[in-house]
């Protein structure tokens, strides 16, 4: 994907955002609508500038983006959503332990020099240490509440 395509996607995305917010702003009355109108107009003008700049751009903005490991990013976001979604139901410490184990092991996948058993052992030790420290620091010392579920 090139920078030009990304910029066009960005400006189109911003136009859609403006349309959605404009529809909502039209339902508001003065003075609640003043600030949003100013912002929407500003975003629309700047998005148009980005759009036109890229439609009529010269070769220098057509350079390709650096390669991104989309698969890994999407899986991290998905696992993170799953993690926070299950916290309230199951319990912070139980889900956090599973999350840390899964993330640590999966993020070491490109470390070919480390054996799988070693990866699991290291991740397990880290998980135990982190969960204990988090419990002591947040629950006992700082009295910061953590979400509760049917487990701990």
């Amino acid at each position: 994907m090139t920078h030009r395509v990304v910029n066009i996607f960005l400006s189109v995305g911003m136009f859609v955002l403006c349309a959605v917010f404009l529809y909502q702003t039209n339902k508001l009355s003065y003075p609640s609508n003043v600030f949003p109108y100013i912002l929407i107009i500003g975003i629309a003008i700047l998005s148009l500038m980005v759009f036109l700049q890229n439609i009529f751009s010269k070769a220098e903005v057509i350079e390709k983006l650096e390669k991104i490991n989309y698969k890994r990013v999407i899986s991290i976001v998905a696992i993170s959503f799953l993690y926070i979604s299950s916290i309230s139901a199951i319990g912070f410490y139980a889900v956090t332990s599973i999350y840390l184990m899964v993330m640590c092991v999966s993020l070491q996948s490109h470390e070919t020099s480390i054996r799988m058993a070693m990866k699991i052992r290291n991740s397990f030790i880290l998980t135990i240490i982190v969960v204990i420290i988090v419990y002591i620091v947040f629950n006992i010392l700082l009295k910061v509440p953590t979400p509760r579920g049917f487990l701990i």
């Binding site: 920078h3 990304v6 910029n7 996607f9 960005l10 911003m14 955002l17 917010f21 909502q24 702003t25 508001l28 009355s29 003075p31 609640s32 003043v34 600030f35 949003p36 912002l39 929407i40 500003g42 975003i43 700047l46 998005s47 500038m49 980005v50 700049q53 983006l65 991104i68 490991n69 890994r72 990013v73 991290i76 976001v77 993170s80 959503f81 993690y83 926070i84 916290i87 309230s88 956090t96 999350y99 840390l100 993330m103 640590c104 993020l107 070491q108 490109h110 470390e111 290291n122 880290l126 982190v130 988090v134 620091v137 947040f138 700082l142 009295k143 910061v144 509440p145 953590t146 979400p147």
Partner: protein
């Protein structure tokens, strides 16, 4: 009266230097640094968490500890900002701009030590201003009405143009996007719910801290994890850094430190502005006054000095209206004011008469606390910097867990945790399109303050029958408008002048080679 104040200052110093108070300060600074380093746990939270502990103490001792926690937490926010590009507290947003690039350049030690020394200097300058000028300066802050606040926010927003040299349009787009996100929830003037899309919990608006954790922590972790790198950056301990750094700071940054500390103190005096606004404006001013502004954002030590000295100077500034008038300048000052009230001490004009000894012990203890922060912080930064030696596949998931707690702890709300992840994902996607989280965060910080100020100003203007008179022609507003215009266009003018200079030197060179 002058003699009395002098005596109170001396007795305040003597009280602050008692072994018990020094122990409380050392404990407070350490606890503050730890809480400040953890993303999502703010300085206000650190102070609020330990207010109940002070109830069993003498009023002066309780305040001494709270002040030390506040100083430590504001400084501690820089550690995560420098090492992980995650502001530990909102006051460290501007610290990420040059602190993290310094880490990437292999200068983590230098960045951490610079932030420590700058914080101490800024903190002390702020307290000295508080000590000497708190009565007259409290009156100046009263001249700031809503129209002036609006222009102060606009002045802060012009930082975006300086922040995004290279692509000002995308920087502004990011800033406006942040401002738009800040409008979600109840309208500050009429109390009308906006942009909730039928989802009732959104009426409370998007909370700043979870959004900032998302912008900086979650998106930063995604960026780091998308690559196959083992470490965030290589860390090498630099020996005998302190001496060379001190001479470099004195050589390059005397004026930066002084200007940023004075700016921080002044902005701290303004209710609602606080550390984030102070550090952003001080950073912008440092860049604007520098002969080589292009080095900012790439690891300029001056940028780091500006941000860190100003956010710690805010403490002295925020206490000026709180102690002099009973108006807290920021949430942490409000919590400390609550502590004062709980001890039966009423801030305001009678504070010096009725509880002068407690007030001056508290103020002078802030100087001592800042001095104690130097050895405590120096010892702790060696430990903190070792985070860089832990492989990324261990650091990243732990940061995500800590970020989740930070987002949740604010209101015990899982919605905030979802906000953190969603905003982090949006910031990550936008960063691929060249929109950095900095301008978005700036928009979110300043948006609600700016809108509130604009809304009230419009209502006043309607009552007075003149928008021009209310919004534009007040003396302080006029000064801020001129400063905003200068700040917005100075990067473009400087860029033009620089290109012109390069062009002229090339023409000269060509002429001489022809001859």
């Amino acid at each position: 009266m002058e003699q009395n104040i002098f005596e109170l200052i001396i007795s305040g110093f003597i009280n602050s230097l008692s072994p018990y108070h020094i122990f409380l300060m050392a404990f407070g600074v350490t606890a503050g640094i730890i809480v400040g380093t953890l993303p999502g746990l703010t300085a206000t939270m650190a102070v609020a968490l330990l207010v109940p502990v002070t109830f069993i103490m003498e009023p002066a001792s309780g305040l001494v500890m709270l002040g030390a926690i506040w100083c430590g937490a504001i400084y501690g926010g820089a550690n995560a900002a420098i090492l992980l590009n995650i502001p530990g507290t909102p006051s460290s947003i501007a610290t990420t701009m040059d602190g993290y690039p310094m880490t990437k350049n292999g200068e983590a030690d230098k960045a951490l030590l610079t932030s420590l020394i700058s914080s101490v200097i800024g903190g002390i300058i702020g307290v000295i201003i508080l000590l000497t000028l708190f009565a007259p300066l409290a009156q100046v802050s009263l001249k700031f009405g809503k129209p002036e606040y609006f222009w102060l926010c606009i002045f802060g927003l012009t930082t975006i143009s300086a922040m995004s040299t290279g692509n000002v349009v995308k920087g502004l787009l990011g800033g406006l996007f942040g401002l738009l996100l800040g409008t979600i929830g109840l309208d500050p003037i009429a109390g009308v719910p906006r942009f909730t899309f039928g989802y009732r919990p959104l009426v409370q608006g998007i909370q700043l801290v979870p959004a900032l954790i998302g912008f900086f922590a979650f998106s930063q972790m995604l960026t780091l994890m998308e690559r196959d790198e083992k470490y965030i950056a290589r860390y090498k301990q630099t020996s005998s850094l302190l001496k060379s750094l001190l001479s470099e700071m004195l050589q390059k940054g005397k004026s930066v430190l002084l200007r940023s500390s004075i700016l921080g103190t002044f902005i701290g005096m303004l209710p609602g502005a606080g550390g984030p606004v102070a550090s952003i404006i001080a950073y912008n001013e440092a860049k604007r006054w520098d002969k080589n502004p292009e080095k900012y954002g790439k690891g300029a030590i001056e940028g780091l000095m500006a941000s860190e000295s100003s956010n710690n100077a805010v403490i002295g500034g925020a206490l000026i209206p709180m102690m002099g008038l009973g108006i807290p300048g920021c949430p942490a000052a409000a919590v400390i004011m609550g502590g004062l009230l709980a001890h039966g001490i009423i801030p305001g004009s009678k504070l010096l008469v009725e509880s002068g000894d407690v007030a001056y012990t508290f103020i002078t203890s802030l100087i001592i606390a800042n001095l104690i922060m130097l050895p405590v912080g120096y010892f702790m930064l060696k430990l903190v910097a070792n985070i860089l030696n832990v492989p990324l596949y261990f650091v990243a998931p732990v940061i995500l867990v800590l970020s989740s707690i930070g987002a949740y702890a604010l209101h015990n709300s899982m919605l905030d945790v979802f906000v953190m992840v969603i905003f982090g994902t949006i910031a990550y996607i936008l960063s691929k399109a060249g929109i950095d989280p900095g301008p978005m965060a700036l928009g979110m910080v300043l948006g609600p303050i700016a809108e509130d100020a604009l809304g009230v100003s419009l209502v006043i203007a309607q009552a007075k029958g003149s928008i021009l008179q209310t919004l534009f022609l007040r003396p302080v507003s006029l000064i801020l408008i001129i400063l905003s215009i200068l700040s917005a266009f100075s990067p473009l003018i400087l860029d033009y002048l620089k290109k012109k200079k390069i062009f002229e030197s090339e023409v000269k060179r060509n002429d001489s080679s022809c001859c």
